[in-house]
């Protein structure tokens, strides 16, 4: 399999601290309201506590990216060498089709530049040999950069509950599920 970079979201280690989300803002200074990496709390139907487990998601750099498929202006390309899905600002006409079509909500509309934009997997940093900003910042090493060609984590899943199941796109993100502690409460609150 050829090199395909992606993110490993270890929801067991993740504490939902948002350092990754802000590290991205710190690196790219997106306009207010434009967020490339969002930390989604798992609803209580999946993790039975209010906002205590999270999936940190940006772009999934899919094998068959729907953004690239539906962009009328061919403003998206997928890099040969590592599978990074890139958005080219200068080619974008701001039609919003990618924003509507990505089931994961990865591309965001920038109301200042009036173009779409999304996680670029920090390709400029990658090319310089350093980790993406979000990965570097994670204090618990819960967000990791992986190469699907060599990634071998038996507990990892591609479509955990709470993550849209879009097999046709074949997103490159992998997950480890969060865990629950034993809970001791007063008898009247069991």
């Amino acid at each position: 399999m050829k090199k395909q970079l992606g993110f490993y979201v270890d929801a067991k280690r993740c504490i939902g601290c948002f350092a990754c989300a802000m590290a991205c803002k710190n690196q790219y200074h997106q306009a207010s309201g434009v967020v490339w990496r969002q930390v989604y709390p798992l609803k209580e139907e999946i993790y039975p506590h209010h906002e205590r487990a999270f999936y940190s998601l940006s772009c999934n750099h899919c094998e068959h990216p729907v953004c690239m498929e539906v962009c009328p202006a061919s403003a998206y390309t997928k890099r040969e060498q590592d599978g990074v899905v890139m958005h080219h600002q200068e080619r974008c006409i701001g039609c919003g089709n990618c924003v509507r079509s990505c089931p994961y909500g990865a591309p965001r509309f920038n109301p200042v530049t009036e173009r779409a934009e999304k996680c670029s997997l920090c390709w400029q940093r990658l090319d310089a040999g350093i980790d993406p900003a979000c990965v570097k910042s994670c204090p618990t090493n819960a967000l990791r950069l992986i190469n699907l060609a060599t990634f071998n984590e038996p507990n990892a899943v591609q479509f955990p509950p709470g993550y849209p199941h879009m097999s046709r796109l074949n997103p490159s993100t992998r997950f480890r599920q969060p865990e629950l502690p034993k809970i001791i409460k007063p008898e009247d609150q069991q």
């Binding site: 999946i46 061919s74 089931p103 909500g105 509950p161 709470g162 849209p164």
Partner: protein, 264 residues
């Protein structure tokens, strides 16, 4: 994705569907073997072309960079949207040519057929997998029904008297189909996955949805069943109702991004 009324798309789709509807209905009205072009045919078709042109200009206001609009046809290999641009430009050319060359039967049916295909392409553009409720044939169905309703209703303003009964029957049929379609779809969504269900609930809770159903479909149907003709004020109601319904289509169809972290 932030929910938005997408007004430029609302007006683009409504107006372009009105134009297509008008050409479809002209074709149907003049379908008989010995039927001549209508007296005002040339004028009609220039107006149809004009409405389509206007809708395309309105669609430019949707773009962040309208001056780069020509780039929109660059991805014919995978993007339905590129095809939509192309086919609508072709459609405009056909409508204008039909008007200019004298509204011949051949051009009328070619344009009508192209219009039908354009509706299909438009349906494909607005049914990505990110909107589970409409990731199917429903957008095409909505657009087709809307085109026929608006086309038939608006045609009644200027169509010859002897075609009014035909228009009326077509409108009755289209309104009935529309009522069925727009009432049943949200109910079917209620038994789907969570995002589909949310869409159904959002539609049913929306005053604009009910405005479309009542004022845009039910009342017009009742009116033309009771009176044996299409009153001149009806197209306005049909248009207003369709507008409400189209806003609901863009604003209240729920995107999967809304439910990340919840059971799908």
């Amino acid at each position: 994705m932030i929910p938005s009324m997408e007004l430029p798309l609302v007006f683009f789709t409504l107006l372009s569907q009105l134009a297509i509807g008008l050409t479809l209905l002209y074709a149907l009205r003049t379908a008989g073997p010995s039927v001549q072009p209508e007296a005002s045919a040339k004028t009609q078709w220039f107006v149809f072309a004009g409405i389509l042109a206007f809708s395309l200009i309105v669609s430019l206001t949707h773009l962040g960079h309208p001056l780069l609009a020509p780039r929109a046809v660059l991805n014919l290999s995978t993007a339905w949207l590129s095809w939509e641009i192309l086919i609508f430009i072709l459609l405009f050319a056909l409508m204008a040519a039909t008007a200019y060359l004298g509204v011949t039967r051949r051009f009328v049916w070619l344009t009508a057929a192209t219009g039908f295909v354009a509706l299909f392409v438009q349906g494909m553009v607005y049914s990505p997998s990110s909107f589970p409720a409409i990731h199917n044939v429903l957008p095409f169905a909505f657009f087709l029904v809307t085109a026929v309703i608006l086309g038939a209703g608006t045609s009644a303003w200027f169509a010859p008297q002897d075609t009014q009964p035909l228009l009326r029957w077509i409108l009755v049929g289209a309104l009935s189909a529309g009522l069925l379609l727009f009432l049943v779809a949200p109910c079917v969504w209620l038994s789907g996955g969570i995002v589909m269900r949310l869409t159904g609930l959002a539609y049913l809770a929306s005053p604009l949805y009910w405005a479309h159903i009542v004022l845009g479909l039910a009342v017009p149907l009742a009116v033309i069943l009771v009176s044996r003709r299409i009153p001149s004020w009806l197209p306005i109601l049909l248009l207003a109702g369709a507008l409400c319904g189209r806003v609901v289509f863009y604003l209240d169809t729920i995107h999967t991004g809304v439910n990340i972290g919840g059971l799908q």
